[in-house]
């Protein structure tokens, strides 16, 4: 174990953290800003959790549906761990970290059925709206998963359809309509990490590097969960999973109030 992890563990035996927070306390402030790229993106948002800052944008395109779902619109989530945000990130093709981040955020949005993809249909079998969400960290001070999920959610809420002319089959991106995306349930993602036998939320970079295991839980408003992702080299006992899910449910309530 590295010295830094040793110290984190010794503080945890007294239920203390390096920055003085409680184990289940998020950093403050948590801010959500909508429409940060409103001239270019159909929807956009910036989320800050402490010093961690993530931006997300939604682009809407009119295109062909997937052949096996001819009446449904398409949702795609993409993320890039920008080297701008963290001295350890390298330039190059999407790392597995970027891919996992995108897929975990995607799972939360897709499995909550937040977007009624049938309502994205323009002409059955021929034309549907394709919503692409792109997520970028600007400053990585830990807990990118939660900030990214929140940013994606906020960007979707901010989004408005551009004008689409059926006759010319052209989208006029310079004209934004007042119509928002057909959104219903909202999943809030909370990542709980395990270090030795302690559970923490909102890890800093050092805590994230020291974790034994982590569980990201997507929570719906009614307390149901719709997506899970376990990470980390260590294992979780069934008991741990229960405890971590409970913590996530509790924290999701807090985060939901901020939207």
């Amino acid at each position: 174990m590295s010295m830094i992890k040793d110290h984190i563990v010794s503080l945890l035996t007294k239920d203390m953290r390096e920055d003085g927070r409680k184990l289940t306390e998020y950093r403050k402030p948590i801010t959500i800003e909508y429409g940060i790229s409103s001239k270019s993106a159909e929807g956009s948002a910036r989320v800050c959790i402490g010093d961690t800052e993530v931006v997300a944008g939604v682009k809407l395109e009119a295109g062909k549906p997937f052949p096996d779902t001819p009446d449904d619109g398409v949702l795609m989530v993409n993320a890039e761990l920008l080297p701008l945000s963290n001295p350890e990130f390298e330039s190059g093709p999407p790392s597995i970290g970027s891919i996992e981040l995108a897929r975990v955020v995607d799972r939360g949005i897709r499995e909550s059925h937040m977007i009624d993809t049938e309502k994205l249909c323009i002409k059955k079998g021929e034309k549907v709206w394709i919503a692409c969400i792109d997520i970028y960290p600007i400053n990585d001070a830990g807990n990118l998963f939660d900030a990214a999920a929140l940013a994606a959610l906020a960007a979707l809420k901010d989004a408005r359809f551009p004008e689409y002319d059926e006759k010319t089959d052209k989208v006029d991106y310079s004209k934004k309509t007042k119509t928002k995306l057909p959104l219903s349930k909202e999943a809030i993602e909370v990542t709980v990490i395990k270090i030795k036998d302690k559970f923490l939320v909102d890890p800093t970079t050092e805590e994230w590097e020291a974790l034994d295991a982590r569980l990201t839980v997507a929570v719906l408003e009614d307390g149901k969960i719709c997506a899970l992702q376990k990470g980390g080299d260590g294992s979780l006992k069934p008991d741990d999973i229960e405890k971590m899910a409970e913590i996530a449910l509790d924290k999701a309530k807090e985060l939901r109030k901020l939207l």
Binding site: I36, S37, S38, K39, S40, A41, E42, S44, D51, E53, V55, G57, V58, K59, E61, N78, E80, L82, P83, L84, S85, N86, P87, S91, P93, P94, C132, D134, Y136, I138, N139, D140, A141, V171, Y173, S174
Partner: protein
């Protein structure tokens, strides 16, 4: 017909409203945001730091690496496919040349200065906004520079030379000359110069003059942003 009244009502030599701020990426050694009209660029500098892998190291000099990228949702029309394109690679390269002129890389043997530029929203003039932000980020990082670098896109439209073109002007159907230019404010030396379009040599001369003049205004914005953080502290 000479283009005298600009699409957005600006005067020929008028720049769009600008905003600049430093220290916007806390983990970076230096960083800055530069906004001109609706174009928003963020630059972060990491370095000088040890260059890895070691076989790339040069014991005589450090290297400067610039990476320009547009966020997928930052284009004014369709989504921009993520990943480096030929365009972004070329912009990264000319950005590096524009900034290199003010650095003495021999001071940093075996090291690298990494500059990352991201565009959050675009409305023409992106490479210039990127260079302007990057110069502030380098200064913010405390890296010795012989001058700042300021950049602007000058346009030649229907015989008129205009400062700081926006997308509408860039897309003008009648054709136009798009001239991104970067200068060192103290000496007026040019470190970036490109042209897309057909212009006369007389127009080129006027464009460079207007470019130098406009960059001086951008320089004032850069200076203010850099000093702002510290004017409060030292009081």
């Amino acid at each position: 017909m000479a283009y005298k009244k600009r699409f957005d009502g600006r005067k020929i030599d008028e720049l769009r409203p600008m905003e600049a701020k430093t220290g916007v990426v806390k983990r970076a050694d230096g960083s800055a945001m530069f906004k001109i009209g609706k174009t928003v660029a963020i630059a972060a500098v990491y370095g000088p730091r040890e260059l890895h892998p070691k076989f790339l190291q040069n014991p005589e000099t450090g290297i400067l690496r610039c990476n320009y990228n547009m966020m997928a949702f930052s284009g004014s029309g369709e989504r921009v496919r993520p990943g480096p394109s030929r365009r972004s690679k070329e912009i990264s390269m000319v950005t590096e040349k524009a900034l290199r002129a003010v650095l003495d890389l021999r001071k940093f043997p075996n090291a690298v200065i990494d500059v990352f530029i991201e565009l959050i929203q675009t409305d023409a003039g992106t490479r210039c906004a990127g260079i302007t932000a990057a110069a502030m980020a380098l200064a913010d990082a405390g890296i010795p520079m012989k001058d700042l670098v300021s950049a602007v896109a000058v346009g030649v439209i229907d015989g008129s030379v205009v400062a700081d073109v926006n997308k509408e002007e860039e897309d003008y159907e009648g054709g136009m000359g798009d001239i991104p230019i970067a200068i060192l404010p103290r000496t007026g030396e040019v470190t970036l110069l490109q042209l897309d379009g057909e212009i006369s040599t007389e127009e080129l001369k006027k464009a460079v003059e207007l470019g130098v003049k406009s960059c001086q205004q951008i320089y004032e914005v850069q200076k203010k942003a850099l000093k702002e953080r510290f004017t409060r502290e030292t009081k």
